[in-house]
């Protein structure tokens, strides 16, 4: 195959050798991703469909064969407590998405189109805010929320989660709106549109990829949030899924592993589907240069 055996590639390998090494490394990295990423999902899925007595029996099963297959584990979803957790998670996620998208659109527009002193520094400081981990802001927030009555409310959690999603979302929106030619808006003004109307009719529709990317980011953060929910929703019966399930596991009340797997699977599916169907938009949203 090869016309020349002289080493030419990196590490002094021939081009053919280099290709083989590359293919091999690709396989290895794929295997690692499958192992740490896909294996747990497989494990959750197969256990969720296996009868809970079997799972409790310390017998390792790798596939729910017909004799142990069941949908029964999912009845746990109708448990009022679990139902509350899921409902709270959904409300908090939607609330966070709406807040993040609205605020980041307006803030991003302001950064992209208006001139104000210290604009660049403002944006930089915004990004620094992203570097604080939830646990660092969580404890002061607990005290503030307690004194202004937001502690234990979904609204309080939505604000906290929006705040940590916001730096990225605003940055993304800022850079994305900057790629939309100013002439589009000016054309709308010439057509008689007010600044607000031009923003609504011309800028926002063109921001769809960035809106979806920001929404997905906010959703993933809110849906998977543990720290803030644990701190800001201290009552066990009004918390969200992640801390809720942990507390349920620690309770003396009997909750079989298979049930835990079923509810975990149910809560893993929405983000998975969301990401899958939005991936083309997501890529477009993240494709902004100089992000």
């Amino acid at each position: 195959m090869s016309q020349s055996e002289s080493p030419g590639g990196i590490f002094g390998l021939s081009y053919d050798g280099e290709t083989r090494v590359f293919e091999a490394l690709k396989l290895v990295s794929t295997a690692i991703i499958v192992l740490v990423g896909a294996w747990p999902i497989y494990w959750i899925t197969q256990l969720a469909f296996t009868e809970y007595e079997t799972v409790e029996d310390d017998v390792v099963t790798v596939f729910p064969t017909p004799d142990i297959f069941t949908f029964g584990n999912f009845t746990v979803l109708t448990d009022p407590e679990m139902y509350t957790y899921m409902f709270n998670t959904v409300v908090v996620a939607i609330g966070t998405i709406v807040t993040v998208v609205l605020v980041s659109l307006i803030a991003g527009y302001g950064l992209a189109r208006l001139d104000f002193p210290q604009k660049e520094n403002f944006a930089r400081i915004l990004l620094i805010g992203y570097l604080f981990s939830p646990i660092v802001i969580g404890i002061p927030l607990y005290q503030i929320w307690q004194s202004i009555g937001l502690l234990g409310t979904r609204f309080g959690l939505i604000i906290a989660l929006s705040a940590i999603s916001m730096p990225f979302a605003v940055w993304l929106m800022w850079k994305y709106i900057m790629t939309i030619p100013a002439a589009h808006e000016e054309a709308a003004w010439v057509d008689g549109a007010s600044r607000w109307r031009g923003f609504r009719d011309v800028v926002v529709p063109q921001c769809r990829p960035a809106i979806i990317a920001a929404a997905l980011f906010a959703f993933a953060l809110a849906w998977n949030d543990f720290t803030f929910a644990q701190i800001l929703l201290p009552q066990t019966d009004t918390t969200t899924f992640a801390p809720g399930i942990l507390r349920a596991m620690g309770q003396t009340q009997f909750l079989p592993d298979a049930y835990l797997m079923a509810i975990s699977l149910a809560m893993t599916l929405p983000p998975l589907l969301f990401a899958y169907f939005m991936q083309s938009y997501l890529l477009k949203g993240f494709q902004v240069r100089a992000l």
Binding site: P181, A183, E186, A187, W189, V190, D191, D201, V202
Partner: protein, 361 residues
């Protein structure tokens, strides 16, 4: 429809302590139905002037009136203008029809009225079969037609163009020029057209306003700007290939004026040269009025450099004591790098002040 009156328009940009005068005391009146082109090199302030008229930029000083309406402080939305942008700026997420109807929608026209007006405009612009398409599916020329249609349906008081054809190729430009003229005639309002392309300026305008460094250099009908440029800048900027310049000296002025260029004497039957006797002047001549003589003794000595045959004429480049000179020669001319001389057709010689560049004669 009102006239546009621009009085003492000045626009100064302050950028990190630097004061940049983009437009310097510009006075210009565009009468109802008149097509005025603002032409100049890039960075000369022509687009800033237009944006001030449009209301997209605020002038530092000066006034802009449409008829008896002072619009200097009015925002763009209240000026009832149409503006065609350099990058066309159709709304990419709306169909052609929605693009054209958007202004009417904001103005609160009924759906039927909107569609009727869009149909009418589309017919005039021959884009009826494109109405349902998205802007991205159209060619550049078609997009600019849609942009014209978007302005046309609103029946604006003022029509402004900001280099609308600079991204199109030469053939499309030639095709769109009559369309633009048709549309502006149809509306019959004052039109200000900004371009750096002097061919567009010459072909479409009633009057051409040449602007340089933020100041108007000359405002006159195209033919006059070409034949009687007011300054060296105008002479050089308008016309392709551009005017060639030489150093000269005015000799005795006695009814006719003697002009010495590179040791060769021309007798000019011109007025206004009294007082210039003995002065150095700049001599301008359009390349088609320079003759190439085979006899190297007949005029300014010139070494042939290269030919650019265009089919109907040839542009020949010569090296002379005044630098590189372009001459329009016969289509069959073949210089072959030999020695020639350049002879002037003295009727067309333009004289300029050596320092200020102002036309003398």
């Amino acid at each position: 429809m009102p006239d546009i009156e621009i009085r003492n328009l000045t626009k100064v940009y302050e950028e990190s302590g630097n004061r940049i005068v983009a437009v310097d005391d510009v006075d210009l009146t565009i009468k109802d139905g008149e097509f005025v082109t603002l032409v100049g090199p890039s960075g000369c302030g022509k687009t800033t002037t237009l944006r001030c008229v449009a209301g997209l930029n605020k002038p530092t000083s000066g006034t802009i009136t449409f008829g008896d309406r002072d619009v200097t402080q009015k925002p763009v939305q209240e000026r009832n203008i149409a503006l065609l942008f350099q990058d066309i700026a159709l709304y990419p997420h709306m169909s052609v029809q929605e693009n054209m109807a958007y202004g009417l929608k904001i103005a609160g026209f009924s759906r039927e009225e909107r569609m009727a007006r869009v149909e009418e405009a589309a017919e005039l612009l021959q884009i009826t079969d494109q109405l349902q398409k998205m802007p991205a599916d159209l060619s550049g020329g078609q997009q600019q037609r849609v942009a014209l249609g978007r302005s046309l349906v609103r029946d604006p008081e003022i029509f402004l163009f900001d280099e609308p054809m600079s991204d199109l190729d030469a053939k499309l430009k030639a095709e769109l020029r009559p369309v633009i003229e048709k549309v502006t005639d149809e509306i019959g309002c004052p039109t200000l057209y900004v371009t750096h392309d002097q061919e567009e300026a010459m072909t479409m305008s009633d009057r051409v306003a040449v602007i340089n460094d933020g100041e108007l250099a000359q405002v006159a009908p195209p033919k006059e700007v070409y034949d009687e440029p007011a300054s060296q800048f105008v002479s050089q900027f308008i016309g392709q290939p551009s005017t060639q310049f030489f150093e000269g000296n005015v000799g005795a002025v006695n009814g006719t004026a003697e002009l010495d260029v590179g040791g060769y004497e021309y007798n000019l039957a011109r007025d206004g040269l009294e007082g210039w006797a003995g002065e150095d002047v700049r001599v301008g001549l359009r390349p088609q009025y320079i003759r190439v003589s085979d006899d190297p003794e007949a005029g300014i000595p010139a070494t042939h450099l290269l030919d650019e045959p265009l089919g109907d004429a040839t542009h020949s480049f010569f090296d002379t004591e005044f630098g590189e000179i372009v001459v329009v020669t016969d289509p069959d001319f073949d210089g072959d790098g030999k020695e020639y001389s350049l002879v002037f057709d003295d009727e067309y010689i333009q004289l300029f002040d050596d320092d200020s560049g102002v036309r003398i004669a």
